[in-house]
């Protein structure tokens, strides 16, 4: 009955079946092994900790297709389409094993009722798959949303066309095969839709010989296409079906925004300048990219017209790996094209604000930011190449201990405490709670106002805290984000020593960048302190009844989530709760909010590194987001965001229409009048 059991030109079908299978599978394995060997070009990296947790996550996310479904929004249903395609094909894969493998190759017959049931499932699944393919084609080639706008190379076009064609053909063949099989053999029960086709064929009086022959031909055609797909997939560049589950399995489990220190053994070449400098996981990312372009459509640099596209970096690196890999495996010393320069441009690397929108948007957990930082490290530490504005900032970090070159002619680090009754730690003093102000909050005039507000809030709440005053130096974040790792390490070690010398237990900070660095990165150097951002701290004070915010705000406000507080560290609710606890506050959300918030443009060293020319500026775009809400005030909890909004408002000339405030300033204004006066 099964086409495999027939004989063709004297050769038993079984032999043909298994020979074809062996060849196809062999080629598949060979290519897959080659791809695996390419991964081995990368450096080692430990990602096999907590195997159980990793496995559970991967299996649940992939089988539930949460990886795709999480990207679904009103304007972007592609994730749903992918889920349907995935499940549909999942059933088909099982079906192929059952039908072609068990029933065909092994020659075991299946109970008809079971077969009909399973085929019915496949009938429905195929409908979804066809629908998903049609929608995908329309989206990719007709609608062309921002994330899919790309100059596809000929190779990529061929892959896409082949994929879509193959999928469609497999679905169509499924129906046809069913129809002809059930018509030829008149088996009962028949599958849902297949049975309909079978009846149609029998009622048209086609001879059973023709039916059988057609069925047999279709069967082998289907088999060959399947084997073809098996062989083609690893040879094409469309590798995500093979590798992205592994990528999800090996995802980073540490704090999102913590960068790794440069390995101590490294003496010559720092960061990444060639493929072999990447770790195997970073190379695995390149295979796993699904070409969906969501990172591209979320990147503030890209959206403001800079040359940076996270997707292009990944895909260009993948091409580079596939092109140069074979040579490198054979012992060639260097690739023929330069990674930084030919494959990825320096401009693209410096345009990144490290906002993390790309990582957040990615369904398969590709790590874009870490890669860009590694490349920056190479530029700065090994090649000594960086934009002049970056160099100026880093030199000031080195000689004066803060990034604000030039500002020292206006005010010094400890000047903000003038006239305030704050405890400034001297040598030998100890304190449990340290209020870490940060460079911007101490040196830049607009931000000093927020620092003073924060001080008054803490005093009103009766918090026993101290500050370092002029002894405070930069946490080091701007140096690290600009790639100047050793300066960061020196500052971190120095600061940790300072904290330990004063016996500090808890650190409250106004700046999310300091927060992230002190909390998530200082442990790399032995710094183990309880670090909180002031929004968390104030929230606690309100809950404990130590702060009463009774003065109404009388305003329509919107809250801007700083990238390093929200997206990277998950602090979304606390600032909103504070705002909502103030009477007469109408809190509205911007369209891009919480984990989808749009960067202000100040991260990644960009408070100092000159923004490249594009179509617009990042802070202008975010300002527009705020204006669209109709809010009178924008509230934020980050000194960079505050600066960026102020600059945007000034530039647009809308000072009267929109005010930007730090949350500390809002809290200070909301405190009971009798308590707020004379406290500081």
């Amino acid at each position: 009955m099964s086409p495999v059991s027939a004989t063709y030109w004297g050769i038993p079908g079984t032999i043909i079946f298994w020979v074809l299978f062996a060849i196809a599978f062999g080629v598949f394995l060979r290519r897959s092994y080659f791809l695996y060997r390419l991964l081995r070009l990368g450096k080692p990296e430990r990602r096999s900790d907590r195997i159980g947790q990793r496995a559970i996550f991967m299996l649940s996310v992939v089988s539930s297709q949460w990886c795709a479904l999480k990207t679904v929004g009103f304007t972007d249903l592609a994730g749903l389409g992918h889920a349907l395609m995935f499940w549909g094909f999942g059933f088909f894969l099982i079906g192929y094993v059952i039908i072609f493998g068990v029933s065909g190759g092994l020659g075991l017959s299946l109970p008809p009722a079971f077969e009909a049931l399973y085929r019915s499932i496949l009938d429905i699944a195929a409908l979804f798959v066809i629908a998903a393919v049609i929608v995908a084609v329309i989206k990719r080639y007709i609608v062309k949303p921002k994330r899919l706008e790309r100059e596809e190379s000929l190779k990529e076009k061929i892959i896409m066309v082949s994929l879509f064609t193959a999928m469609t053909m497999l679905m169509v063949l499924h129906y046809l095969m069913e129809g002809f099989k059930y018509a030829a053999f008149e088996i009962e029960p028949s599958p849902l839709l297949g049975g309909v086709l079978a009846s149609f064929l029998t009622s048209n009086g086609i001879s059973s010989a023709t039916l059988l022959a057609t069925y047999t031909a279709l069967w082998w055609l289907n088999y060959v296409i399947l084997l073809g797909a098996l062989v083609y997939t690893p040879h094409s560049e469309h590798l995500h079906p093979l590798f992205s589950p592994a990528n999800i399995f090996f995802r980073p489990l540490g704090p999102k925004a913590a960068l790794e220190p440069v390995p101590a053994e490294e003496t010559e070449n720092f960061g990444v300048s060639k493929l072999q400098d990447f770790t195997w996981k970073q190379l695995l990312d390149l295979y796993s990219c699904t070409w969906c372009g969501r990172c591209h459509a979320a990147c503030p640099a890209q959206l403001s017209g800079k040359s940076l596209s996270p997707r292009e970096i990944i895909l260009n690196l993948k091409e580079h790996l596939l092109e140069e890999g074979p040579g490198l495996l054979n012992g060639k010393a260097e690739a023929s094209s330069k990674l930084i320069g030919d494959v990825v441009t320096e401009d693209a690397l410096w345009a990144c604000t490290t906002c993390g929108a790309c990582i957040e948007a990615c369904a398969v957990k590709v790590e874009h930011v870490r890669r860009i930082m590694d490349l920056r490290r190479n530029l700065v530490l090994t090649q000594n190449k960086m934009p002049e504005t970056a160099q100026l900032m880093l030199r000031n970090m080195q000689s004066r201990g803060h990034p604000w070159a030039g500002i020292q002619s206006l005010r010094l680090r400890g000047d903000w405490t003038d006239g305030l009754d704050v405890k400034v730690l001297a040598d030998g003093d100890t304190a449990d709670t340290l209020f870490w102000v940060g460079c911007t909050g101490a040196l830049v005039e607009r931000n000093v106002k927020a620092t003073i507000s924060m001080t008054r809030v803490l005093k009103t709440a009766g918090v026993d805290f101290a500050v370092l005053g002029e002894a405070e130096t930069c946490c080091g974040d701007p140096a690290r984000r600009a790639g100047y790792e050793f300066q960061f390490q020196m500052m971190a070690e120095q600061n940790i020593e300072t904290f330990k010398s004063h016996n500090i237990k808890e650190i409250v900070t106004s700046c999310p960048h300091c927060y992230n660095t002190l909390k998530n990165e200082y442990p790399q150097y032995g710094g183990d302190f309880n670090v909180v951002h002031y929004t968390q701290f104030i929230g606690k004070l309100i809950a404990q009844g130590k702060l009463k915010l009774a003065n109404g705000l009388n305003s329509r406000v919107t809250y801007h989530d700083p990238c390093y507080l929200g997206r990277y560290n998950g602090v979304y609710q606390e600032p909103r709760q504070i705002l909502q606890s103030i009477p007469q506050t109408n809190l509205v959300e911007m369209a891009r909010t919480r984990n989808k918030a749009f960067c202000c443009g100040g991260g990644g060293g960009h408070m100092w590194i000159e923004e490249q020319s594009g179509t617009t500026k990042i802070n202008q775009m975010r300002l527009d987001d705020a204006l669209k809400t109709g809010a009178e005030q924008v509230v934020t909890a980050c000194p960079y965001c505050l600066q960026m909004f102020e600059e945007g408002i000034e530039h647009k000339g809308i000072k009267g229409a929109l005010k930007v405030q730090d949350l500390a300033e809002i809290v200070e204004a909301a405190m009971q009048p009798s308590e707020s006066k004379g406290a500081a």
Binding site: R395, Q398, Q408
Partner: protein, 264 residues
């Protein structure tokens, strides 16, 4: 090419002018607390010039600094940028020396170091700003001197130096050994590369005292100083600044224009 660079550690010139305080009795500046001293800006350019020559011609760079123990930091800065090693010249007898005394001490240290092709200095110190020590040192060493260099190229036994003048540049050829004072127009100094930063930080910088370099007490005696400071004062300069405002920046600008057109 063996180069010796003279670097000075100075009080940070970048402080709010209102914080600048002096003690008229001791004729010293009182540094504001919490502001670390820095390398004199032109001396950093001198190190940069030395590093650029080393990039092209290989060789050795030695940095020397006369100052307090903290001066080791500027030597480390030089090493982080590319110098090979350095020495701090520190002695009670070296304090408050005038230009001649300073040049004498540096000259003795250079004599102790021995062979050199080029001595580089900043054009003037960022604190007292006289711009004398380099030329006096060259006279002591008996070598030619070129001042206000903004570019130095080497070839065989001569250096081709581009020199800054008020309406342009001069290009000179100087035979080695010679001394060159460097101006900031040479360009921004390099950021110390990562590994050198860490290496320099760990280095222990030797300190040379007067007897180590054979400095004669008579030459360091303040009574024999060529110049001395008899008074130090902060000039009071207070003008009442009339702030011109407006409802919009454009209006303020227009108001200012009206004011100015009456003046000129």
């Amino acid at each position: 090419m063996n180069t010796i660079v003279c670097v000075k550690q100075v009080l940070d010139p970048e402080i709010p002018p209102a914080k600048f305080k002096i003690d008229p009795e001791t004729k010293q500046v009182i540094p504001p607390p919490g502001v670390p001293p820095v390398i004199s800006v032109y001396d950093e350019r001198a190190i940069e010039a030395a590093c650029r020559l080393k990039d092209k011609h290989k060789g050795k760079i030695t940095a020397i600094s006369m100052g307090t123990e903290k001066a080791a930091d500027v030597i480390k800065h030089a090493i982080a940028m590319g110098a090979d090693d350095g020495f701090v010249l520190q002695d009670a007898a070296f304090e408050n020396l005038d230009s001649f005394g300073t040049a004498y001490v540096l000259g003795k240290a250079i004599q102790k170091i021995g062979e050199y092709d080029l001595v580089l200095c900043g054009r003037q110190a960022a604190d007292w700003g006289a711009g004398e020590v380099g030329s006096i040192l060259a006279e002591i060493l008996g070598i030619p001197v070129v001042t206000f260099a903004c570019d130095i190229q080497g070839a065989d036994k001569t250096l081709r130096v581009k020199r800054l003048v008020s309406d342009g540049f001069e290009v000179l050829e100087a035979p080695m050994p010679c001394l060159i004072t460097v101006s900031s127009e040479i360009g921004l100094p390099r950021l110390p590369a990562g590994p050198r930063l860490m290496m320099a930080r760990k280095k222990v910088i030797p300190v040379w005292k007067a007897q180590d370099i054979g400095a004669e007490p008579a030459k360091l005696d303040k009574a024999n100083a060529h110049t001395e400071v008899t008074a130090l004062s902060v000039p009071t300069r207070k003008t009442e600044c009339e702030i011109i405002a407006g409802a919009t920046p454009e209006e303020a600008a227009a108001n200012l224009a009206m004011k100015l057109s009456k003046l000129i």
